[in-house]
Amino acid sequence: MANPGIDEQPHDEAEALLPWYATGQLDGHDRAIVEDHLQSCLQCKQQLFLERRMVDEFGTLVPQVENGWTKLRESVVVPAQSRRAPLLQSFADMWRAATRPPVMGFVAAQAVFVLIAGSVFLNVERPQTAQYHALSSGAAPAKANMIVMFQGNTTEAQMRGALNSSGASLVGGPTAADAYLLHVQANERPQAIATLQSDRQVTLAQPIDGPSG
């Protein structure tokens, strides 16, 4: 790169930094080296214009790449589902059963009755008589210590995703007020509630037997 009239060492140093000078990514020391050199080097001034042109041109090269979120989500969520298959399968069955038109009509009528009676939330003792028993399990079901309600348009997949995120297990529901009863370890409950409350589909998530239950 011999060039008459150019002091090679500062020239090379400044020229090597030009791309990052063009994008404003140099610290004060490096920037001073380049700016000092630019005052006396026409070659680097021209090169700087080209660097800025390169930045502009590279900005117009936009690759067309498929958004692979759906595939990635499947590979993330499916393993989690398989770990909880019996419970979630039962949950899906319950959801399908609960959303059949006759059942939905019955649930709606019950909800109206509950609203008229001034009872917004269900009786917290209700899980004692409505506990859910997994078909494949003979163990005693866990006691519900959380309640959650979803928006009316929530799909079964969204509900399943919300429960997976929270780490809670389904104990019972849907109740007359379309609420679901959940169980989670006591020390994990505040986090589980926070996770559910941050979900857009969740309209209510709260403890039902005191803060430490």
């Binding site: 690759p63 590979s75 996770t195 941050s198």
Partner: protein, 199 residues
């Protein structure tokens, strides 16, 4: 909180607002929050897609490598120590994944190198010159090594400094400067006409 946790928390406190938001997402991802993961994915997908497109030169591999990268983020969110920016960590994962993929698919397909979209140009002459320059750059990029393409893309498009690029590609800063110097020379040689025609 142990010492490492305290250091991590201190770094999070001193990070920039956008970085803090990203780190909060990462903390939620560590707790298996799929919604936080989706948000982070959608934030990074365009940038990673572009970076990997240039590195891989095989559009059909980009989605796969990108998802492999984000799967590492999902599975290893707790491994992020906070020594660097979150974006640096994620791009470093993508860089290593891309190099590994290229070992399996070493031959670039130049005609599929970049499925790029031209930006509108105001005048016919400018548009012709723009297309000539763009085509020359695409061809020249395809002939560079993956390591050189990574440095060029991270510099010109992602506008990262050479120190951060060195962290991503895992080499000394002088190597980054040298790679960029040679890549620029190759790109310049690929441009039709003289330097003065393009400035």
């Amino acid at each position: 909180m142990n010492l490492q946790g305290a250091i991590k928390a201190l770094r999070a406190e001193t990070a920039r607002p956008a970085e803090v938001g990203e780190r909060e997402l990462l903390a939620r991802i560590e707790r298996r929050d799929i919604h936080a993961f989706e948000r982070l994915y959608r934030m990074y997908q365009p940038r990673l897609a572009r970076f990997l497109t240039h590195m891989l030169q095989r559009p059909q591999l980009v989605e796969e490598v990108l998802n492999d990268t984000m799967m590492v983020v999902w599975q290893g969110a707790g491994n992020f120590r906070g020594d660097s920016k979150l974006s640096t960590w994620i791009f470093a994962i993508a860089y290593r994944k891309a190099l590994k993929a290229r070992r399996c698919w070493p031959d670039p397909l130049e005609d599929e190198a970049l499925n790029s979209r031209p930006s509108p140009a105001p005048g016919a002459d400018q548009q012709v010159q723009h297309h000539k320059l763009r085509d020359a750059l695409v061809g020249a990029m395809a002939r560079l090594s993956a390591e050189h393409r990574a440095v060029v893309d991270l510099t010109y498009f992602h506008e990262l400094g050479y120190r951060e690029i060195a962290e991503i590609v895992g080499c000394p800063v002088d190597t980054v400067k040298t790679r960029m110097f040679h890549a620029r020379r190759r790109l310049r040689q690929a441009l039709p006409g003289d330097l003065a025609d393009w400035v």
